[in-house]
Symmetry: C2
Subunit: 198 residues, 2 copies
């Protein structure tokens, strides 16, 4: 199910239903029978459109990845391109908004990775690529500053981001993501700038 592929109305309903159930109940805990009936569709239609449960899982992960990136960019687009520090901090704003609306059960990718233990499952690649992409996003934004060595800082920002995401569902924070944003700011400020001479 490629990025620009138009889905049939039934396929759309199936994927929407599966996405919600996979995230809220877990992948293995939800059967195809349940998905089909909740979507108001027969099992045959589900298999005609998606081929197998595994492929439906992959479609779920790919679409969630797309939606998250889109949300992220729409938040970051509000800050001008020549202010990379603010853009980085905006990622944490985007996360807060994302979590409070459609992320009550932690990180969908981390959760899915916990269930997809088979090394060869195609869903794993989607997940790992998503994580690498985010880490690289931090790195490329830091790269716009004149930092001596942006990668270690990008790594810490990424860890901070992931930690915040997985622990958010524990409901133990009073200040939301504000604290993490301050930590992120501190991390950026702690970096050494390139020496201009030579």
């Amino acid at each position: 199910m490629g990025e620009t592929t138009k889905m049939t109305p039934a396929a759309r309903r199936i994927l929407d239903t599966a996405s919600e159930l996979f995230y809220s109940k877990g992948i293995h805990a939800v059967g195809v029978e349940t998905i089909a009936s909740e979507a108001g569709v027969t099992k045959k239609t589900l298999y005609d459109r998606f081929g197998s449960k595994d492929q439906l899982i992959v479609a779920y992960l790919e679409e969630r990845d797309q939606k998250w990136r889109k949300h992220l960019f729409s938040c970051m687009d509000e800050v001008p391109d020549d202010q990379p520090v603010d853009k980085i901090l905006r990622i944490f704003d985007a996360l807060e908004n994302w979590m409070s609306t459609r992320n009550k059960r932690g990180c969908a990718f981390v959760n899915a990775l916990a269930e997809l233990s088979e090394e060869t499952h195609p869903g794993r690649k989607v997940i790992i690529e998503e994580k690498k992409w985010l880490k690289e996003l931090f790195a490329s934004l830091l790269g716009q500053l004149q930092l001596e060595n942006p990668d270690p800082i990008a790594e810490q920002l990424f860890i901070l981001h992931e930690g915040l995401m997985v622990t958010y569902s524990l409901d133990i924070y009073e200040r939301g993501t504000a604290g993490a944003k301050e930590t992120a700011h501190m991390l950026i400020q702690s970096a050494d700038y390139k020496k201009e001479e030579a």
Copy 2:
């Protein structure tokens, strides 16, 4: 299965087998039949000792919690009680050691929480208590310093810890936990100390 309860040899084998399988394959992906046969035990013995799969899951989580705390304390005990900063940093050493030996698939508690979606499942309490306990451990160690407001820092250390743990299995770090330890140190140093006057 309380902390000091002596298990029968069969029960011991069952729990060991279940722990390894639950962690490596996921909870829902492993059936009681598999656990019993891998442990060299009949299903009846499993049910005689643990009552149900859910109770076996709880025993798994409780024991893993105990082992982790034991490991943590044995690492922290090597640094004197009057050096709380080093004790905090030692938590990150303990984490590195723990992860490289028995944590190749991320955080067992986060993974289990992803699969236990039912709000009433007794395993959820074990997990959430474990996370709260760790956050409080950071807070109490910071409390030994004369900090103005230790809780927000404890929160950030906790997020850092969790982020490192869940992302470790992605195999994208070259320096292991060293970077996170530096971030932790920076966080502690950033805190304001209590004003001595008044």
